[in-house]
Symmetry: C2
Subunit: 685 residues, 2 copies
Amino acid sequence: MIRKFTFGTPVTTDAVVLSLPAETEPVPFFSVSRSGEQVTLTRKMADEDCLFGLGESVRGINKRGNLYRSWNSDIFNHTESVDSLYASHNFLVFFGPDCLFGIYLDDPGRITWDLGFTRMDTAVITSENGQLDLYLLEESSLTELARAFRRLTGRSYLPPRWAFGYIQSRWGYAGEDEFRAVVEEHRKRGIPLDAVCLDIDYMEDYKNFTWRKDTFPPLDQFTGSMRQEHIRLIPIIDAGILCQEGYPPYDSGKAGNCFCKKEDGSDFTAAVWPGFCVFPDLLREEVRRWFGDLYRPLLEAGVEGFWNDMNEPALFYTPERLEEAFRRAEEIRGSGDYESLWFLKDAFNSLPNNPEDYRSFYQEADGRLMRHDKVHNLYGASMTRAAAEAFRRIVPEKRVLLFSRSSFVGAHRNGGIWTGDNFSWWSHLKLVLQMLPNLNLCGFLFSGCDLGGFGCNTTEDLLARFLQIGVFTPLMRNHSALHTRDQEIFRFSAWEQMKETLRVRYALLPFLYSEFMKAALSDGMYFRPLAFDYPEDRRAVHTEDQLMLGEGCMIAPVLEQNASGRFVYLPEDMLLIRFRSPEDYDLVPLEKGDHYIDLSLREFPLFVKRNHPVLLCPGGEYTEALDDHTFTALYWADRTFSFDLYRDDGQDPDPGLDSHLTRLSLSPDASAGPGSGVAISPLVL
Amino acid sequence: MIRKFTFGTPVTTDAVVLSLPAETEPVPFFSVSRSGEQVTLTRKMADEDCLFGLGESVRGINKRGNLYRSWNSDIFNHTESVDSLYASHNFLVFFGPDCLFGIYLDDPGRITWDLGFTRMDTAVITSENGQLDLYLLEESSLTELARAFRRLTGRSYLPPRWAFGYIQSRWGYAGEDEFRAVVEEHRKRGIPLDAVCLDIDYMEDYKNFTWRKDTFPPLDQFTGSMRQEHIRLIPIIDAGILCQEGYPPYDSGKAGNCFCKKEDGSDFTAAVWPGFCVFPDLLREEVRRWFGDLYRPLLEAGVEGFWNDMNEPALFYTPERLEEAFRRAEEIRGSGDYESLWFLKDAFNSLPNNPEDYRSFYQEADGRLMRHDKVHNLYGASMTRAAAEAFRRIVPEKRVLLFSRSSFVGAHRNGGIWTGDNFSWWSHLKLVLQMLPNLNLCGFLFSGCDLGGFGCNTTEDLLARFLQIGVFTPLMRNHSALHTRDQEIFRFSAWEQMKETLRVRYALLPFLYSEFMKAALSDGMYFRPLAFDYPEDRRAVHTEDQLMLGEGCMIAPVLEQNASGRFVYLPEDMLLIRFRSPEDYDLVPLEKGDHYIDLSLREFPLFVKRNHPVLLCPGGEYTEALDDHTFTALYWADRTFSFDLYRDDGQDPDPGLDSHLTRLSLSPDASAGPGSGVAISPLVL
């Protein structure tokens, strides 16, 4: 059951696809209070209550005990102190002995979620706008709650199948030679690879929708020659448009009056990579159409995937703020006040993404001018929407890969996301593991992190463990920042071990793709907290470092440096597959309960429920080479069971579910493995 | 066996107390290379080799796989990217199937420890000075290596017994009223408390060795009235002396020519809290005597403990660097270079603790002028030494509490340390757990972290879990920064649970004090990695979140938010004591192996080897009220066994070990507990 409560006159966000009548208060489960424009929802929690949701945010799977802010932010230092990341996903589920419901706040402004931070027993949720649709979801289970939320907000984005291949990326690949060298090194060593990202270096002076000519051949030639190597190119697109006459995107946007305005009616400008930029007013349909059409030349030149970046939107500084910082600095300098001098740096550190700047410009929404901060969290989603709408117009026959840094609920229908600029930290291994199930709950199934870590220097063992998580994430991209240590697999002494990890990904790819598509097409979740499958099992509910994957699997990666294994809790009997390569693995049937699993640096585990298979295909160095007719099924069975495998052409934008399923029947008689009922069974479909 | 190899003409550091002849190269176990002034030691490592040591540093107990820099730094953001903290403890142990030895680099300059960071299989250690004594220690076990290092560097500092009591601290207690209110609130609620720290707010304008008169009574009155409440005051002392004529410490230091000099012979100045300061040249004995005598009025007014801070030394900025930052800012501003503008903030962010500033002044060492950076890591240790030498002169009859932020090996004889300005992060729970055994290995037994976290806002559950670790750390201080959430126990709804945690500390205090003193007086370790007790047990060697404590105990605190328990590896049979209060605990005998232990927020575990006791005294609200004649012994015995309890007057500076030991004989016959051989046995000594 989904109910809707409307506060004030909310702006249309495109988050919700279901039209529901608004009910009048009281809102069940909460007390509602108002203060100025703010609306606050308060609820007492029982000791045992858990909270799931909020998609992309730091800290645990269970969000309880902390404070979060919905305020899309370009924030580089994802420590535990960070309250906001690049996205706002305002869906939160309350789950406890006496409660099971979800709330969705359809509100693109700032929201504070005090989830037991100030008082352990109280959740206090405050909308600054105070103008919102509040949806209340009640279902019989966590899984059904997730499904209901998808019914409310629409089907999750479907990427092309090749996007499940391995993607190499780095800020700093500045010309054709470097791209070719990277691709060749992978091919030469047999390291699987499907795509390479083009970071801002491919543009002329970082200008969107330009193509650098001094170090690159024409784009169509480049995409064409790369396709012969079975490599796709994935260019970055930023949000800002350089304010420069004679630069076509600026001229056409200016002519169409497409940019966000300051109070005095002039275009709002702020510095980003190319210099002072203007920002498309993307809540307007005609602006989205204009902006989306800018992708057309790239599509026509053979580009099949994009990443949208800097779309919180990130602002380095405005001219006004910069002048103010200098003024402030001069004042402090003259004052001889040593503490002020100490805090002088704050005048400059507060330049980027300054809240005042977000209050200094306007967007048009529902035909009225709104101060940007009131709709701030929609910006990235609008950019994704502009691109996706263009793709549907321009290449309606196929799926285009799209993943964005910033997002809002609704964007999950139009693209995937990556989890932003993480670091080469071991704690960020755990962070992505804890984000993924909450992202899935909020509709974002196609996701992954920068494997190896974006900022600071990785180490060989950290990259190896990152890749072992990446084997299972739909988006599997190795990405790193300029001036950090080179992070391509082949740079490291144990590259052959990492290659085997990638080979497992490719052997599993048809199976993982099938699990993904079944989840996406049935409004399900690819990754889930254990609580969703075992809501009665208190241990499972509190497990923060293991995830359910697809219908019958569980992952439990190693998250610690120098570890020789890890503890795993099995909520039921499961088969452990300890992978070293697609050909070299252990099959260990394990009983429900606690286990310590030995896992050397080259080993990683996948757990499978009884009477459920994992399918390995013969593998290949790129997705098109994968054979999805020939498999080895691994399982632990005590009865004959069936399994539905999803296969399609990998690009139909609306493929349907049932027509692409093949039902396999598997039996314990096929057992050829080491233990009773454990089977390694060849299959030809 | 300890061997010494001398490179160049090293400066005297006071780290080593043993005089050994220098041997000539080759140095066993390493290849040695030179480049310019640098000396580099290189060693191939086997896959199984572990590295212990480096005292205060981030990341794991096993230091392998990362890069560390010995360079004492006032650094506020202890993420995984940080290479240096406040201290340099240059002792490192190599432990593997085919190696067991330690190296100590007696070198107060910058050292880089690339411990498998660049290449997983290679350790590369580089001294920038290239002038050092290298000590090579070989013994038959890890424990003996630790003991040999203490033989080389001298006995660990002994604090007074009252310093094991609970200490409340906060930056921002600005007057008598606030102190009294804090103390009263503890006493009123029966929360044990022994001392309160005075942060910089107690001084006049942050000037060292002054006493603020507008909000405080005269110091001797204040210490006197607090002692009636059984509370000690622990003032902070910073390193810098305000450059101000008429301010007695400045005048006397100036008259004695006591301050560090720039190349032109003028005093080096840099801004710190009180304004532009000069810095005592503490490597000179006469300067230490002058500086140490500044503590005298405080001691005579009844102060019995100090914390030395800002002694890396921290520098906010020098006048020269500040001018340069403004010049740079103006240049960038004029350039219109947007990327430079983006990095403008770096001009100001690089003001504090700038490496150039540390190269711009000089200290006298061994009668010669040395550029400060060559002896940088000795500064904090010299300040501690100045204070400790003064205490021995002024109050030779008793132990004075002293703990410092910055340190170097050698300072472990003169004082304790706290682990610097941590954050209210769950990851910092684990960080202190992982630092403590390496601190012990390097000689620093009296240590602890800012419980609850210094920077950013704590939560109730985080403070509760911090206190549960704090129960076992010799220094147990709750400390927090100005502008963060109030962090005293009584601020929180579940304060009664935290009070019970403190009551367990006080019930255990005579036992923990005994374990500490036995370790300190026998050159042993109070906290140890499990590898030290179970070197043959690969699982124990790789355990990163449990510690051996004293002779027979092990701790395994909960380190995760919202956890309802944790996994524990028992390397042998142990008795679990699950504490809720001194009167309310479970005794659970557990077999060697893997266990999941349920631990609600109010519960914490202590594990005890078989035939070893834990002793609980009747408790009290301050250490002087503790009765160390009456105990309840908890143990799991299968035979009669003996245990030596250490008791002394808590203040004799040189108490000796044997004369203070009482041998207890305990027998399984006394069993009254729930399991076979598990005893709750009353004792009167």
